[in-house]
């Protein structure tokens, strides 16, 4: 047993250097007040105060969460049935379907998002189709709907693949047992299939929600410059405004909120797992 434990040691050292230290540097920036290159140790909380006392900033934070929640819900509602259908197909079809979900993910996200601009823009193909059905001059690009579409498009495969992995892992004899014991398909789904897929669902939610909440090039490309989310705000602070200290503070706030949420999710996951065992 001890032999296996030592396997983790190199990675612990590596992650301290590559994952923890960068965060510590950002935390340091968020609490100091110097320029971009010189680190001096005069601690201040003013960047945090600035964020929390401005209603506009708080509104942006709120909206980023709302759109990420919407994205996650849509991905779950669309992704679960798709993953379920794939898992229920025969083996050959299954690998083809998983492959066809995977291929788009391997193509650059920026490119795929960029392609939607052509599809959604004024005079583009979708607008022409809508016009054919009698909806003329519907503004598609640079709306919240476009941003939502872009996010779902980019993140849905993560959800499908995670749930699918969980469902495939499931022992089919459990379903037969459930049916033998008199459960109808709905009961089987609710009592057996779904609980067993929960780890996949949670992984899926993690992989969708996290990038959605901080995404900045999707809102930038599909929402236009007037569509601002917290990710854009951070990017803006680092790239154009150049106030790294304030940008670091916003990042820390985000990181802390996310960490708290994730801890809550993990707790919930542990509880469901515990009950099952």
């Amino acid at each position: 047993m001890k032999k296996f434990t030592t396997l983790a040691v190199p990675y612990i050292v590596w992650s301290a250097l590559m994952l923890v230290l960068p965060m510590a540097l950002i935390a340091l920036y968020s609490l100091t007040n110097q320029g971009n290159t010189i680190i001096s140790f005069s601690f201040t909380l003013e960047h945090y105060v600035k964020f929390f006392t401005d209603p506009d900033f708080l509104l942006i934070l709120w909206r980023s969460f709302v759109i990420a929640v919407k994205t996650t819900i849509i991905c779950l509602l669309l992704g679960y049935p798709v993953a379920y259908f794939i898992a229920r197909s025969n083996e050959k079809l299954q690998s083809i379907l998983v492959l066809s979900i995977t291929i788009p993910m391997w193509i650059n996200a920026l490119v795929r998002t960029y392609a939607w601009i052509g599809l959604l823009s004024d005079g583009g193909i979708i607008q022409q189709i809508l016009a054919f059905f009698g909806f003329h001059d519907v503004q598609l690009l640079y709306t919240e709907g476009a941003v939502l579409l872009g996010m779902v498009y980019n993140f849905l495969p993560f959800m499908i693949l995670q749930i699918n992995t969980a469902l495939c892992k499931m022992d089919n004899s459990l379903l037969e047992a459930s049916a033998d014991l008199g459960a109808n398909p709905l009961q089987t789904f609710l009592r057996v299939t779904f609980p067993l897929s929960v780890p996949g669902v949670i992984n899926g939610i993690t992989l969708v929600f996290l990038p959605a909440v901080s995404s900045f090039f999707i809102p930038k490309l599909l929402g236009g410059g007037q569509y601002f989310l917290i990710g854009n705000m951070i990017e803006n602070q680092f790239i154009t405004v150049g106030e790294w200290n304030f940008g670091s503070a916003i990042s820390m706030i985000m990181a802390i909120i996310m960490m708290l949420m994730m801890m809550a999710v993990r707790k919930a996951e542990d509880r469901t797992q515990g009950r099952k065992e």
């Binding site: 047993m1 296996f4 434990t5 030592t6 396997l7 040691v9 190199p10 990675y11 612990i12 301290a16 923890v20 230290l21 960068p22 965060m23 540097l25 950002i26 290159t37 506009d56 509104l59 942006i60 909206r63 259908f85 690998s95 379907l97 979900i101 995977t102 291929i103 788009p104 391997w106 193509i107 650059n108 490119v111 795929r112 960029y114 052509g118 004024d122 583009g124 193909i125 640079y142 709306t143 498009y153 693949l161 992995t165 892992k169 780890p199 996949g200 992984n203 993690t206 901080s214 090039f217 929402g223 236009g224 410059g225 569509y227 990710g231 803006n236 405004v241 150049g242 790294w244 990181a255």
Partner: protein, 629 residues
Amino acid sequence: MKQSKRTFGTVLMTLSIIFFYLPILYMIIFSFNEGKSLTSFTGFSLRWYQHMLESQDMMEALYTTFMVAIIATAISTVVGTIAAIGLSKSKKIVRELMDQVNNLPMMNPEIVTAIGFMLLFITFQVEKGLTTMLLAHIAFCIPYVMLSVMPKIKSLDPNLADAAMDLGCTPWQALIKVIVPQIMPGIVSGALIAFTMSIDDFIISYFVTGRGVKNLSIIVYTMSKRINPSINAISTVMIVIITILLIVINVLPTFLAKQAEKPGNGKRNLIIALACTILLVFGIQSLKPSVGNGNRPFEGQTLHIYNVGEYTGENIISNFEELTGAEVIMEIFDSNEAMYIKVANGESYDILVPSDYMIQRLIEENLLQPLDYELLDCMDLLVPEVLNLSYDPNNVYSVPYFWGTVGICYDTTIVSEEDLEKEGYNIFLDEKYRGQIYLYDSERDSFMMALKALGYSMNTTDEQELQEAYEWLVQCVQTMKPEIVTDEIIDNMAQGRKALGITYSGDAAYIMSENENMGFYLPESGTNFWVDAMVIPANANNPELAHEFMNYVSSYEGALDNSSYVGYTSPNIEVREELGGPGGDYEGINAYLPRTNYEKDEVFFYDENTRKVMSNLWAKVKISASNAK
């Protein structure tokens, strides 16, 4: 019942496949488009593929993308799996702590992780380039591998390894023969996710790269600012490569399994995948253009240029390389501010092409070196109006590259010239044109417009005046439903999608040459007169070659190539006359010949404090625009 469920599933599946593939198909089709537009297909052509093959940048990016993704996937899959197994046997407290640590790159906004890496590399003075990109990719891929492997390990019987060892396995055998095969599906999906994350990554790569190393995302991002269908072409190539790769991975094992009458397993899949990808890397590498040799003055030397995307003539780089024997590496930035951050952090280039105000800032911060006039023979060829301006008196540091003004591009069939003359920039508050306007997403240009509309200097430092300008802009975004865009404005105005937009004169020249209904108007209240110029950073490695490049770009041949391809006004007198005059590409287009010597036109003056105020206010304007929706 069962039948209807099946049908439902099939329909759902078909719809999702359409959803996933529609944009990709669209992109492939438009990679063969003859024209530049993203919405109207004008005819079949391979010109964008040719353009792509000729672009050394793009071919190298393709190679970098795959190489980084493959190496990062291989290392992070092995390390991640081993670490996950080790951790699963570790004490609970270690495990939970590491869970949190692993969550850092997944929970943080990617940009924060990126900045974190950047700060790390700068703190430890690791030179940014391929190595740093690779390190960062490995670092953010491992947690994803572990996330995917962990549930598999958790669902393993914990006594399995013990049982194997009781039966005489060494721990290593137990690991390889018992545990790894059991968790193989998790490892494979982890490797897939790692590969996807790496090949997809933009933000982190963007911040940790240097020395001209670019992946596909960076190329796309920096090039998509200007419409460039070569992006579609290179994406199509990538799609084809990946599809072939995936099909081979999926079909070959089944084929081999049939031959050997044995079910294919995951391990073999991975080996085949590895073999294929290695072949692929060598294949792509062989596509890289080779450097010729001869007896030329700068044979074997390297010139590092840092320039805006799509801001260089088609043949300038190759001709210059041909002429001097030097190799040119061009890195691309998307804003002066992004460029400044890299240069201020010690990244070394031989030539930068920033805008006037940024040159002033670089001079003030001692980041540039004075030009050696002994080596320059081009200054006499240039338009006198763009020399000796306030940002760099006597051109001690800079040689103009392009120049122009900022004005109102308008659709002559919708906007009356009377309104323009009467209202100037205030036409952007005229509700007659509500929903018909574009604003440019740049605090400098927007505040210039607002300040000029109010009759102030665009270089004011008066907080009251800036506040009024801010309110002017807020009124505009709240009442006029503008779209705040960047370079999409060029294509959109050329297609006549909206009636009014703030544009640079060079872009307006292109728009007018594409669409004859468009006009360009400079308000009487004045505008921004700007110059983008070449400068040599203080830490340049090869200033002599940099001077040579400045001479070439400013010469008739270089300047003609530059200006006719990009569409911006040339500082070379002869070229400007030729392109703007009778028979030239831009004959009769007023935007190509910027207004000069008008007293109300100003050059942007850099003031740190004002810039911060403006950036913050502009962010708030955008916030109120997005809250007004």
